[in-house]
Amino acid sequence: MKKQKIKVISPKGNSGNPRRQFIKLGGLAVAGAGLMVACSKEEMAMQPTTPPNPDAGGDGDETPDEGNGIFDLGEGDLGVLNYAYALEQLEADFYTKVVNGFYKNCSQEEKTVLTDLYYHEVNHREFFRAAIGAAVGDKTELMLPDLEFDYGDFDFGNRDQVLNTAKVLEDTGVSAYNGAGKLLENPTYLVLAGKIVSVEARHASAIRTLVNPGSADFAGDDVVTVDNGLDLSKDPSEVLAAVAGLGWLQTEFTARFLP
């Protein structure tokens, strides 16, 4: 069979059009200098003191950080949007790699699922880019920059590695959105996040069945608590630590105003 050609949608640049289209939402507190008040000296002292990151935007003094040049996701709804954007960037980048060189013996069913996931996640990523762009307006330094990833010796040619990592990414996405819903103040954002999280859950279910066909893993006891039937919910700090643990993220950022 002829190799499927996948068009890669570049994260670089921005037509700007969707940003202008995005619904104008009142009440979004755009993070600014006032944020500094919420950050104690002690917390600030605990921040890493790595050199300024050229990708962080601006010279560091304009970002809501203490001038160390590391981007901070920010607080409130903007912080949550940047957080979701970071996760969607990771998912989109991962599936871009997957579909541009499917592992050997990838079944047609697996290709179909992984290609769908690729399109969905790139769409989510671009959606957050548009939403955050609309929210920050001219203050583009408040928008999470394009993240860079380095997968090291991860073998995209290995079915087990790819599918098991997809499983982790999707389950993590579900738990992250479930945990972040309560942090959102604007109802419009809550509904939008809700529209995405259930699709992530649909993905997780499908991937889990590809990993272990015929099992109850689609909503397995490892993710859905048996006695109350609740899926996982995690705070940003827990999720971001797990993401950092993958060792793929090359662009540093902090989340000092999220739990």
Partner: protein, 275 residues
């Protein structure tokens, strides 16, 4: 509480009118402080102080939970009957139905405990009719052949799960600012996992394309899918996102699930409610 009377309250007018009571609840939480309200979340519904529901009629959050309980009653009974009937094959179908049945039963218990813990009487379980007045015979009570009954068993499960996802999503803003939101989201994503697996068991994609109900779905289930064809998210046509050409309509609708209102959820569930 009479179930039909309760369901009748889910009209658009009533939901609009209830907004003021939600504001009252917001202010209750305001006095507790946001942190305190959030801290209560991980401990589940049962830990909620009853004073949260001081005004237990006309409270949008209570009504959202009662609607959720009603839908969970429906799913719970459906899967219990499915496990006991002669149309569910062993192997993968039974494994899936057993896992889902376990969750739906847990959701009923969880929501009942949560409502009771909050000082609210849970809505009574309705009497269900999964033949929808003779339209279906999923459990072979009326002599349907095994193959037909099994197809209906799957179709109904798909309709219930996809409805559940949309209904919980539609109630999220009614729970915003309360400690119930996270738990509802945690149930919402479980319903989505179920929906995906049931759809895949039926040979469909796990996600919804356009407003397609999927091959083999009875026309009566179209209400479950109407509106899923939406491509405008937050004012943006998501088919136009990205730099190198638009996303397809299909993938753009698959990438986002759509909410339904309480009255739409009730209209769908009412097909299967006798009294």
């Amino acid at each position: 509480m009479n179930i039909i009377k309760f369901l009748d309250e889910f009209t658009t007018d009533n939901l609009v009118n209830k907004k003021s009571s939600r504001r009252d609840m917001f202010s209750t939480f305001g006095s507790l402080g946001k942190k305190a309200a959030m801290a209560a979340v991980p401990f589940g519904l049962a830990s909620m102080p009853s004073k949260v529901f001081a005004q237990d009629s006309g409270n949008a959050a209570v009504d959202a939970l009662q609607l959720a309980l009603t839908l969970e009653y429906l799913e719970d009974e459906f899967y219990q009957l499915a496990l006991d009937c002669t149309s569910l094959p062993d192997g993968r179908p039974r494994v899936i139905y057993e896992q889902i049945a376990k969750h739906e039963a847990a959701h009923v218990d969880f929501l009942m405990a949560g409502l009771e813990g909050a000082g609210v009487e849970p809505v009574a379980k309705p009497e269900f009719d999964f033949t929808a007045g003779g339209m279906f015979d999923p459990f072979r009570q009326n002599g349907a052949d095994k193959e037909t009954a099994y197809a209906q068993l799957l179709a109904l499960a798909q309709a219930f799960e996809d409805t559940g996802v949309r209904a919980y999503k539609g109630q999220a803003t009614n729970l915003q600012g309360t400690p119930f939101l996270t738990a509802a989201l945690q149930i919402h994503s479980v319903e989505a996992r179920h929906a995906s697996e049931i759809r895949r068991l039926r040979g469909l994609k796990g996600w919804i394309t356009g407003n397609e109900r999927g091959a083999g779905m009875p026309e009566a289930t179209q209400a479950v899918y109407n509106g899923e064809e939406n491509v405008t998210q937050g004012g943006v046509d998501v088919t136009t996102l990205g730099d190198e050409g638009p996303f397809t309509f299909e993938s753009s609708t698959e990438a986002y699930d759509e909410p339904i209102t309480g009255d739409t959820a009730v209209a769908i569930a009412s097909l299967f409610i006798k009294s």
